[in-house]
Symmetry: C2
Subunit: 103 residues, 2 copies
DNA sequence: TGAGCATATAACTATATCGTTATACTGTCA
DNA sequence: TGACAGTATAACGATATAGTTATATGCTCA
């Protein structure tokens, strides 16, 4: 893998390395949602959620759609769930005694 | 996924979000290696590589083995390559025009 | 025991980013 | 047009971490 490719991959992992962003993605797995509803779902503030949604959008993980004055975001790259599955599987192996918290 | 699980997953992604650490993992894919050789391979400094190796080990991605006064590190969790493959695939789709740099 | 090599750690600077607060922007509706 | 709701952005403080330099630790061998 070339250095540029390594950097792009690292950036992708970095975007997924914030718990709040993972929570947002997890919530959006249920379907598209307005910023206000995402904010409520993840129990944060609107500006903070807005900022994180922008980061997720810049990386192509989510896409936005405007309707009136409300903006709806939805998952744009399903591979994130595959990534989480792989990580969870690995974590389950490593912390087999803690595996209960992964359901 | 519970909040604790989200945090553990986020931590895992964070460890993989540094280009140098990805380079180290990529190099170790060829087999175990001493710290000195890793340092040369990734073109960094010994203390820096040592620090990153510790981070990778704490997360269970690599394991160490001491022989005399040299320490050998090797991959301890093959799932990282699966993760990189998924990310690369997703990136290829997104930047299809740039896909050449991924080989 | 003492020199020298390999690795780890400590202390530091610089940079990045999270979350907050305040405010700007944009669209709707009376 | 004016008020308000939804979203985005700017500015700020606080925290975290990458990389460097210096040094400590631990092993080997003469």
């Amino acid at each position: 893998m070339s250095p540029e490719a390594v950097n792009l991959v690292a950036t992708r992992f970095k975007v997924l390395s914030e718990p709040l962003r993972l929570q947002i993605l997890q919530y959006l797995e249920n379907g598209e949602s307005s910023v206000t509803n995402v904010t409520k779902a993840v129990n944060s503030t609107q500006p903070n959620v807005s900022k994180h949604l922008k980061i997720l959008q810049d990386e192509g993980f989510v896409a936005k759609r405007q309707e009136g004055n409300t903006v709806f975001y939805k998952i744009a790259d399903e591979s994130i769930f595959e990534l989480c599955d792989v990580v969870c599987g690995s974590l389950k192996e490593r912390y087999s005694e803690k595996s209960a918290i992964f359901g």
